[in-house]
Symmetry: C2
Subunit: 529 residues, 2 copies
Amino acid sequence: MDLHGLNIIAGERTHAEGQTIRAFNPSLGEHLEPPFHEATSEQIDRALQSAAHAFQQYRHKSPEEIASLLEKIAEQIDILGDELIDRTASETGLPHERLRGERARAVNQLRMFAGVVKEGSWVEACIDRAQPERKPLPKPDVRRMLIPIGPVVVFGASNFPFAFSVAGGDTASALAAGNPVVVKAHPAHPGTSEMVARAVAQAIDQCDMPAGLFSLLHGTSHEVSLALVRHPLTRAVGFTGSLKAGRALFDAAAKRQEPIPVYAEMGSVNPVFVLPGAMNERGETFAEGLQQSVTLGVGQFCTSPGLVVGLADAGMNRFIEKINELMRTSRPATMLYPGIRQTYEDGIRRLESVSGVRVERSDSMPDAAKTEGHPAVLTTDAETFLKNPQLGEEVFGPSTVIVSCQSRRDFEEVARSLQGHLTATIHGTPDDLREYKDFIPMLEDKVGRLIFNGFPTGVEVCAAMHHGGPYPATTDSRSTSVGTAAIKRFARPICYQNFPQEALPVELRDDNRRGIWRTIDNHWTKDDR
Amino acid sequence: MDLHGLNIIAGERTHAEGQTIRAFNPSLGEHLEPPFHEATSEQIDRALQSAAHAFQQYRHKSPEEIASLLEKIAEQIDILGDELIDRTASETGLPHERLRGERARAVNQLRMFAGVVKEGSWVEACIDRAQPERKPLPKPDVRRMLIPIGPVVVFGASNFPFAFSVAGGDTASALAAGNPVVVKAHPAHPGTSEMVARAVAQAIDQCDMPAGLFSLLHGTSHEVSLALVRHPLTRAVGFTGSLKAGRALFDAAAKRQEPIPVYAEMGSVNPVFVLPGAMNERGETFAEGLQQSVTLGVGQFCTSPGLVVGLADAGMNRFIEKINELMRTSRPATMLYPGIRQTYEDGIRRLESVSGVRVERSDSMPDAAKTEGHPAVLTTDAETFLKNPQLGEEVFGPSTVIVSCQSRRDFEEVARSLQGHLTATIHGTPDDLREYKDFIPMLEDKVGRLIFNGFPTGVEVCAAMHHGGPYPATTDSRSTSVGTAAIKRFARPICYQNFPQEALPVELRDDNRRGIWRTIDNHWTKDDR
C-alpha cells in the first residue's frame, strides 16, 4: 500500500495542506517517508459535520448491519497482512510477534463488539408495564433503553498502535453503540494509522454505510486536539495517554458551552502489595514474575507494576536481592519514540536523586541511537516514600520502585497515601488474607481492578473486565476502556412513556423479537412483554 | 418540635455561629422564627470529615442493615405528622394536600430504595469464569460489581421540599448505594429541612449506624455551596435547581485537582408537539389537560410544559382560543418565595417584549403580598420563535408558549432548533404517527423521556423511569434523578481478578447466597456460579 500522508474525511483523502509530520523509526533512529499533513481547522469541521450527517443514517441501521460492519473492518485489517506489521514495527520499534498478537487482539475486539451488538442485551432494555387500575393514580407504561449519542472523537495511543488506536477499543465500542467516529492519529505511528483507516473506510464502503461514519486526522499540535474536543458537534471523547494531555482534554470539554464526557485513561503505577507469608514462601519466584511484568513491552503499558510494597524481613531481603540481580541482567530495548525514552530517563533521574533511594540498573548500556530504555529498580523505605510523593507517580518505562516497610502500620500507611490507580495487586497466602482482612477495602477505595497472586499486565478483554479507576488513573471512574462494558460510555438512556407499540424501538416492544435480556417489572427475562 | 436553627453535624447540633437566615411565609408575606445559621467553613470541613470517617464503617454494613435504615428514616418522617406539613406549608405556600402527597412520595422513595438494596441486583454483578486451558493464554477469573464511592453532597431543591430535598431521591439513592450524605438545605425551607434532618439523625441513632453518615448544613451564600463541592473528601454532588446554579457547581467540580461528578438537574421547557390529526380531533380536550399541567403546583415543576408546537390550521385556532380562555380563568396562586415570583414575572415580560408574541394572562390580578404568580399563555409563530432563542428558554412558573407553524418544515425546524430538555411530548393519532414517522428520532436527540398523548408532569418513580436529558437539562445525560436507576450515580465498578472465594464480596462468590440477578459468562441468572 502506498501511503499518501493525507487526512481522510468521510472516505476521501484531503488535499495536502497544513504542517507536515514525519514518522520516525526508533530502532534505526531515522525518519520515515512519506510526510503526513496536520489537519486544518476547516478539515476538523468537515470531519465532524460529515460525522453528524452520517449519524442520522447510521442510528437507523439494524444491529445485524452494524455487526457486519465491525466484522468487515476486522477482515480488512487482517487483509493488510505483514505489510501492516512491518510498517508498525518500523514506526514503533515493537517486535513483530508482539504486534501480531496485538493486531489479533484488536480484530478480536471488533468481532467481540459485533457479537455484543448482535446479541443486543447491552441496551439495558427495562420495561415497567402500565397499571391503569392503580390508586390514587394510574401507573403509566414506561420503557427505557440506551441509545447512541452522536460523533465520538477518539485519540490514538502511542503504546498500542492497534488495540488502542485507529480501530482499537474506543473506536470499536463507539461504532458498536451506533456512533460515528473521528480519530486523531497518534503522531508516533501515522503510517499505521493511515493503513488501518483505509481498511476502515474500505469496510464502510463495502457495507454501504455512510462514508462520514469515520474520518482520520493527523496532528501534533495541541490546537488540533483541542479543536476536536471543542467542536460543537463532538458528543464524547475517548483518550489513552498521559495525565497532562488527558487533563487538558477534560478541561477543554468541561469548559464547553455544552460540556461533554471525556473518557481519558491516563495511566497508573499499579501498586503490588506482597504480604509477609507470600514474600517468605515465594519471594524469589515473585521477583521473576515481577521482572517479566516490569520489562514486558519495555514497560510501556498502563498496567505496568511501578510500585512494590513489602514488610522488611529476611524474605523481603531475599526478594530485593533477586529483583536487583534480575534487573541487572535485563536487556535494554527500543522504546516507542525518543520523547518517551527521554521522559523515562528524566523520571529515573528524578527518583534516584531522592535521598534514601537506591537504584540498580541493567548492566548492559542502552544504545541511544536505537532509542533504548535502560531497565531500573529503585529501592527505598516507607518513610522516604511517604515523604516524597513523586516516588508514587508513574514513570512510564521498564522500572519499578520497591518500598520496604518497618511495620504493618507503615505498610498500611503507604496504601492509604496512594492516589487513584487502574489496578492494585495483592500477593498472599490464605493465612496472610485472614491476617490482612481489613487491608482489601483500603485498596478498593483506590483502584478499578484488584488482582490476587498475579500481575496487572495482560488485561483480559471480557464482560467483567474493568479497566478504569479513580482520578488520576482516569477522568471517569464509572467507565472502562477495555471489555464489552466499554460500549456503555457512548450511549445514554432514553425512556418512552405510554408509547404505542409500533412507535417504540424494536428492543422495547412487547414482542421480544430480538430475544434480548430485558427487565420487565423488575425481573430479568428473555420472554415477550 | 422546637426548631433550633442550628446546623446538624453527625447528629449533633452545632453552636450558633455564622450569618443568620430567616424563613419566609410567602402566603402571608412575613418572616418566620427561628433564625437559621449559615454553616462556617470549619463546620463544612467537619461534616465532610465525619462523613468520610462514617463511610469506612457504613460500607461494611449488610444490605439488610442499610435497608432498615432507609425504612426507619421513612418511619421517622411519617411520625413528624401534621406538624411537618404545617411548617412546610408556611415556608413554601404549597397546599397541605399537595405536601401530604409529596411526603408520601418521598417516604415511598425511601422504602423503594430499601427494596432495591434488599433485592440486591442493582450492583450489576458480572462474572467471567476462568478458562485455565485456553490457548495461547489461560483466561483469568474476573468478577465485577458496583461499590459505593464515599461522601455525597446533596443540594435541597426549593420546589420539592420533601421529594428532592433533605431526605429526597438524591439522599435516598446515595445512602442506598452505601454512601454518607451531607445535605445543604434550601434556604427557602430551612425549618422543614431541620425537622426532616432530625428525623434522619434519629433513625441513624436508632439503627446504630455511624452518626457521621448524615449532616445538614444551612447557607444562602455561594461560598457555602462552592466549599462543599470543592472539599477534597466530597466524591459526588446531587443538585436540582437552576441552570446558573447547577453550572456553577459543575464548573467548580471540574476545576478540582481531582474532578468529581455533578448530577445537576437544571430544568427544562418540556416541549409538546401536537400533530395535526390529534389537534383537529381533540384540540380542545388537549387545551384542558395542558392548562392543568401548566398550572399544576403554580407551574413550579421541572417537567412543566413550557412550549407547545402545532401546525396552523382551524384545529390549532380552536385550541389557541380554548387555552387562552382557560388561562384567563386560571387563578393566581402563591409561589414558593418572592425571588421565584420576581424571576417569573421578569421572564414573562422578557417574552412578551419580543415583537410577534401575544400574551394572555389570567383575568384575576395576583396579590403581590401573597407572592402570587399570574398565569400566562404566550402565542407566536415559528418564524418569531426561530429568530428569538429566548422563547425556547425556561420561564419557571405557570406559563407556556404556543408556537403556530405555517408548514411541516417549520414544525420540524422548531424541533431541530431545541436544546436539551428533560422531556418531549407528542400528541398524535395513529395516522399522525405513520405520517410523522421520522419526527420521533429528531426528538430522541434532544431529551431523556418521550411521552405520547399525555403530559410531562407527574414523574413515575419506577425502574424504567429516566429523569434526565442532554445539557442544559442536566450536566450528565447518562444519569437519572428519579427512579431506582438513580442509585447508580453514586457507585462505580470494581473488578476482582483470580480472587479466592472468601476474599470476594458476597455478591461475587460462586454461591449466590443473596439470590441476586448476575451475568455469568454472559448469561443472566440467579443460579450459583
